[in-house]
């Protein structure tokens, strides 16, 4: 299938109308020697053949319908209500372009406005943008903004930040001539002593995660107050936003930027993408927001409507003076998350967060009782926790025999955490599946 509707007869008519003899004549600007003689690809497939070919590949992967996942570390296995894809796959949403013609894009623009509201409410911030690529790039964007705002170029990053985020920060920092320094953790939490030591008048911002990569809940109030003492800005990343159904958000502790990943809200794990990055901040930093913003206004009849606004910040107008280069964002993923958050609402999100919290603690308590297993950090946690095991590889293999996907082995990213595993428990893990996990772990010696 090539989805082309021009017939041979029509093609001839069109060529005549253009005044050329053949299609080749349309490509005269390309020198002959640069033209492809033979394309080394497969022959076209019928839809049935294609479906089989692609489906066969999909069958070679473990997936959450066939396996039981206790793995998170930035991407989470949460419940996906049927409603969400049904609505998000209305083609008026997914086959539209960026809403540059607001008169025929009110659906999209209103959803973005609602998304901005959801994120602002959840993070306790004044405003949020229309989305960026993912939690990692959202955090990197905020880092760059703090350099511009403070005119300082040193950034402190908590070691307990998701390693994927750290790698992206490192890369963006290099390109922007920002100097990054890591702050150690102590008992799973950001070390205040280390922070005090490194924080100075040259520090643009401090970046930390909450709950942090180890699942532990940070004392944001103390940390952020400390950061602000030096005129430094704070960036709090949230990779598991379901936690915000229960936890007081960073915005209420006066965090300057709250960034993160919204995949938990109705978006399939999809091997890590596409998810949706969110970016929220205070009113006073509204000029330091990358990408699109939907704003409310009125039309020529005085009727309320929405439009992309403050566009002169963006690359298509400001060009080399722009503070971000983002154009395409994760629009449809923001639509999905917005629909999902509407379904959950005030009561559902709290209930979902409570389920995650309770089940994770049930699992941690049970595992703790096993010989050779211990909860490694004493800090408060949400739905992820670190367990020291008799052997991370052994655990992984043993669990796999029972079609259970183990948590994230920490040693590779944190050599000091040998045989430690970051387990994740969500509302998708029933008591029965947790009990099975514990039964299997019991056999690992």
């Amino acid at each position: 299938m090539d989805y082309i509707s021009t017939t041979k007869k029509q093609r001839k008519e069109m060529l005549q109308s253009i005044g050329v003899n053949s299609v080749e004549d349309l490509f005269k600007d390309i020198p002959e020697k640069l033209k492809i003689k033979k394309l080394n690809l497969n022959n076209p497939l019928s839809e049935a053949e294609l479906k089989k070919t692609v489906s066969d590949l999909s069958k070679k992967n473990a997936n959450a319908l066939e396996y039981s996942y206790f793995l998170g570390a930035g991407i989470y296995n949460h419940f996906l209500p049927s409603v969400v894809p049904h609505l998000a796959l209305r083609s008026e949403f997914y086959t539209a372009y960026t809403p540059y013609q607001p008169e025929v894009s009110q659906g999209n623009l209103q959803v973005i406005y609602e998304w901005q509201t959801f994120i602002s409410e959840l993070t306790g911030q004044d405003l949020a943008n229309a989305s960026v690529y993912d939690g990692a790039t959202a955090t990197a964007d905020a880092m760059i903004m703090t350099k511009i705002i403070t005119k300082r170029n040193k950034v402190l990053v908590a070691k307990s930040l998701n390693p994927e985020y750290k790698k992206v920060l490192k890369n963006y920092a290099q390109a922007n001539e920002i100097e990054i320094k890591e702050i150690e953790y102590k008992n799973g939490l950001l070390s205040l002593d280390e922070l005090k030591k490194e924080l100075d008048e040259k520090t643009a911002s401090v970046i930390l995660q909450n709950p942090n990569f180890f699942g532990c809940i940070e004392s944001l109030e103390e940390i952020i107050n400390l950061i602000h003492e030096k005129g430094t800005l704070s960036i709090v990343a949230v990779s598991e936003p379901v936690s915000l159904g229960l936890l007081k958000p960073a915005g209420e502790f006066d965090a300057d930027f709250v960034t993160g990943e919204g995949q938990s809200f109705g978006i399939p794990m999809s091997f890590g993408g596409p998810g949706v990055g969110f970016y929220a901040t205070k009113q006073k930093h509204v000029r330091f927001v990358p990408g699109r913003l939907s704003g409310k206004t009125t039309d020529s009849d005085g009727k309320e409507g929405f439009i992309l606004t403050l566009q002169a910040r963006e690359q298509h107008i400001r060009r080399e003076k722009a503070i971000s280069n983002i154009c395409t964002n994760q629009g449809l993923m923001a639509v999905i998350a917005t629909i999902h958050l509407s379904l959950l609402g005030k009561n559902g999100l709290k209930e979902m967060a409570e389920l995650n919290l309770q089940k994770a603690h049930y699992a941690a308590e049970k595992i703790k009782e096993l010989d050779g297993f211990e909860i490694f950090f004493g800090a408060l946690f949400f739905n992820e926790f670190v367990i020291k095991t008799p052997g991370a590889e052994k655990v992984k293999e043993k669990l796999l025999e029972k079609k259970i996907i183990s948590g994230f082995s920490l040693e590779k990213e944190f050599p000091e955490l040998k045989d430690c595993i970051l387990f994740c428990v969500t509302e998708m893990n029933s008591k029965e599946s947790i009990d099975t996990l514990v039964e299997v772990l019991k056999e690992v010696k």
Partner: protein
């Protein structure tokens, strides 16, 4: 709107009014008109050193961004904070309430590089077609 006699003008359509060694800077009525509705004025920082005809700041309309150049060299001593909340003053009152910054005049001789109101009016005539 007439271009006030006591001001000095640039080819980029900025004006400066000198009082006691301090130059108040803004954009002309012609400039505000061609920029259309100003929605944001990026205020320069107090204490910033600027050079004559080099970028002072940036103005935004809905769909464009324009550089504003400084008519004189010197230090920015004051900025018009009220433009943060009501940038439309640049459109409504370009020569009065819509002023952008005050700059401490470094070199009086620089004024010779600027146009008088009369010269600026002539200059505009060359632009109007």
């Amino acid at each position: 709107m007439d271009n006030p006699k006591e001001l000095h003008y640039t080819k980029e359509h900025e004006w400066v009014k000198i009082e006691n060694g301090i130059g108040t800077v803004g954009i002309t009525d012609f400039a505000q008109h061609s920029l259309t509705d100003i929605v944001f004025v990026e205020l320069p920082e107090k204490g910033k050193q600027v050079e004559q005809f080099k970028q002072l700041t940036v103005l935004e309309s809905v769909k464009s961004v324009s550089d504003i150049y400084s008519p004189i060299s010197g230090e920015v001593t004051e900025v018009n904070e009220s433009l943060s909340d009501s940038p439309e003053q640049v459109n409504k009152s370009p020569f009065e309430n819509g002023w952008i910054a005050k700059i401490k005049l470094k070199d009086e001789k620089e004024l010779e590089n600027l146009m008088t109101a009369e010269q600026y009016n002539e200059y505009l005539k060359t632009k109007e077609h």
